[in-house]
Symmetry: C2
Subunit: 168 residues, 2 copies
DNA sequence: CATTTTGTTCAGTAATTAATGAACATTATG
DNA sequence: CATAATGTTCATTAATTACTGAACAAAATG
């Protein structure tokens, strides 16, 4: 186990290096609109040499069972972590996925694509509303909706390209 | 002005079409981690045929002066709106910028780049911490930090490419 | 089949984030 | 220069979001 180094109880068990790495991922989580705890868990798994189970994460990060369970679920949902089976142990163990391509495409599919698709539906709805509109402003509005649709389509096409750029 | 159509007072002044467009931008704001009111204001300006002033936005969206002022400030900060001077009027009027290239590059520069740069600094700090580390785990950790740095650098290079893809 | 281990769910609470509006600047107007 | 118009700031409040922990599966163990 870890050698204690005279730090406060709250951070016991995490080296300064670990804390720094975890904080990096907390910031990333923030940018990606994910809960802080998700960043913490991923960070811990990322820097860990061995796979960790739910209780390892919970104890070392000092967060609740519920948050840990939820966080692992989210990370699994877009493939940022992998489950490792350890023979003779009932617990699930986790390892951070380190292929940026895999993580990014999982994230795109689970957390981004739904929004893009939702936007598409909404634009269709807006087009319908446009039917019931006086012709004075109508043409001008139609141009704006065209523009919106254009953005929408570009977003849909660029997303896969970004993944290509990331992935190799 | 707008023809009233027997709706609740709270939404008076916004046609269903306007409300739908605004809601689209509220969702976008959410994805981009911007306050809802920022999405509302941009949406209103986007669909408006004429430039609007602070009070126009405030009244039509039924939000406070403070939020409106703040929202316009944020939108100006990354070039999502432009100021229009109307002769003989002391008020500032605003128009939505409709060049996706301009908005995206403004957003990247103001809201994304700082995070990427912050990450770079943190990785440097982590490298320093690595110096004071036992050699048992050290090599393994070093590999991970290399990986992190690699991600970091890729992010920095991909960002401009994305803007190229968007911009044309 | 009772008990233990492991993990999930979710109602309640805490923490965070955004919105409000009054006080304050700043500039124009008469 | 007093008053009005316009916009900003920021302490307070409201709304949202994340976290907690106890209750609840589900499955393994003895």
């Amino acid at each position: 186990m870890n050698i204690m180094n005279g730090e406060s109880l709250a951070t016991t068990g995490l080296s300064e290096l670990e804390r720094e790495v975890i904080e990096l991922f907390i910031r990333m989580a923030d940018v990606l609109n994910l809960p802080r705890s998700v960043g913490e868990i991923y960070g811990l798994l990322f820097i860990s040499s061995a796979p960790l189970c739910l209780d390892d994460c919970r104890i070392r990060l000092n967060i609740s069972k519920g948050s840990t369970s939820q966080g692992l679920k989210i990370l699994r949902s877009f493939g940022a972590i992998r489950t490792v089976y350890i023979p003779g142990d009932r617990k699930d163990y986790y390892l951070a996925e380190t292929s940026l391509r895999k993580i990014a495409s999982g994230f795109a599919g689970e957390q981004v694509r739904p929004h893009v698709d939702g936007g598409k539906e909404r634009i269709e709805r807006i087009r319908e509303l446009l039917e019931e509109h006086g012709s004075a402003e109508r043409e001008m509005i139609e141009d704006k909706i065209d523009l919106l649709e254009n953005w929408q389509k570009r977003a849909g096409k660029i997303l896969p390209l970004i993944l290509k750029l990331i992935g190799g």
